[in-house]
């Protein structure tokens, strides 16, 4: 059910949830399917890599953020997709057992000039580990439908 519309995402709005912990088998299984580099798939080779052990694919950390966002609030919104992401940064390796939290902050909200029923919201999305370090950061844009007029409710 849609509870939140474009108008609900004003600059400074923030949301945090989690944690989600990735196990070593989850890290290996994801990477075998989508990103089979040895420091993601092979514990022994990962130990000899510059990371000194198994680390999650950055894309896996990205979809941890996406899933936490969906479970946290996105599925209750009028979101109709995303044009893209900027400044995606993999800042700290994510290792097995890391307890990951997701934080979303609204940076900007702009009503569409051409389509009066929607607007674009710009967010900073962060994945934070158990030591409070930002492991992943990105700027994401999403389109949200505007709240229907009172008479339509």
């Amino acid at each position: 059910m849609t509870r939140y519309y474009f108008e609900d995402f004003t600059p400074g709005w923030t949301f945090e949830n989690g944690p989600r912990t990735l196990t070593a088998p989850e890290i290996v299984a994801f990477a075998r399917e989508w990103d089979p580099q040895t420091y993601h798939t092979d514990e022994a080779k990962a130990r000899a890599s510059p990371y000194g052990g198994l680390i999650a694919s950055g894309w896996q950390t990205g979809v941890v953020a996406m899933r936490l966002m969906c479970d946290g609030y996105l599925l209750d919104t009028s979101c109709v997709g995303s044009p893209g992401i900027d400044e995606l940064r993999f800042l700290k390796p994510v290792r097995p057992g890391d307890a990951l939290r997701f934080r979303s902050t609204v940076l900007e909200a702009a009503a569409s000039r051409t389509k009066p029923n929607r607007g674009t919201v710009t967010f900073r999305w962060e994945v934070i580990n158990q030591d409070g370090e930002v492991a992943l950061s990105m700027i994401g844009r999403q389109l949200f439908l505007r709240r229907p007029a009172q008479s339509d409710r």
Partner: protein, 156 residues
């Protein structure tokens, strides 16, 4: 069988292009990926998706990225001296990817910079362009990768 040649920083010269044919995404794959990672209704519910602005089921943008990452690993990254990635400058999902769409990836080296502080490595900026079977651009991004330099110091 000879071992494939290992690729180092020096092998990623600006202008180098890889064209990689990808798979067609099935409805079942689109729904399965999104059910795990991005369960928005227009990715997981075919009926509800018809009433969305997309007019039907579309793949999660993360799914398109994952398919391409796998293609790159299989094509060359798995045999490279890759040290990982500091990040991606931009991702744009320019058109929906729908069930049955067949993806094709073009990777272009935009820039290659030796590290100033670590003489054994360098950073390569790649432009990823993903097309559907009609030749329409469905996604593009600019991704950074770190690679070790060729140990003998020679050019490829």
């Amino acid at each position: 069988m000879t071992k494939p040649k290992k690729l180092y920083f020096e092998d990623f010269a600006p202008g180098k292009v890889w064209e990689i044919d990808g798979p067609a995404l099935t409805k079942a794959e689109i729904v399965e990926f999104a059910s795990r990672f991005d369960p928005q209704y227009f990715h997981v519910d075919e009926v509800a998706a018809r009433d969305s602005p997309f007019g039907g089921l579309v793949a999660s943008g993360w799914h398109t990225v994952g398919v391409c990452m796998r293609l790159i690993c299989d094509a060359y990254l798995g045999q490279s001296a890759s040290l990982g990635s500091p990040g991606v400058n931009e991702i744009r999902w320019t058109r929906p990817v729908r069930p049955g769409d067949r993806l094709k990836l073009r990777m272009t080296v935009v820039e290659a910079k030796p590290s100033r502080s670590k003489p054994d490595r360098g950073t390569v900026l790649h432009r990823w362009e993903v097309f559907n079977q009609h030749g329409e651009l469905v996604m593009h991004m600019e991704g950074l990768g770190m690679f070790l330099r060729r140990p003998d110091g020679r050019q490829p």
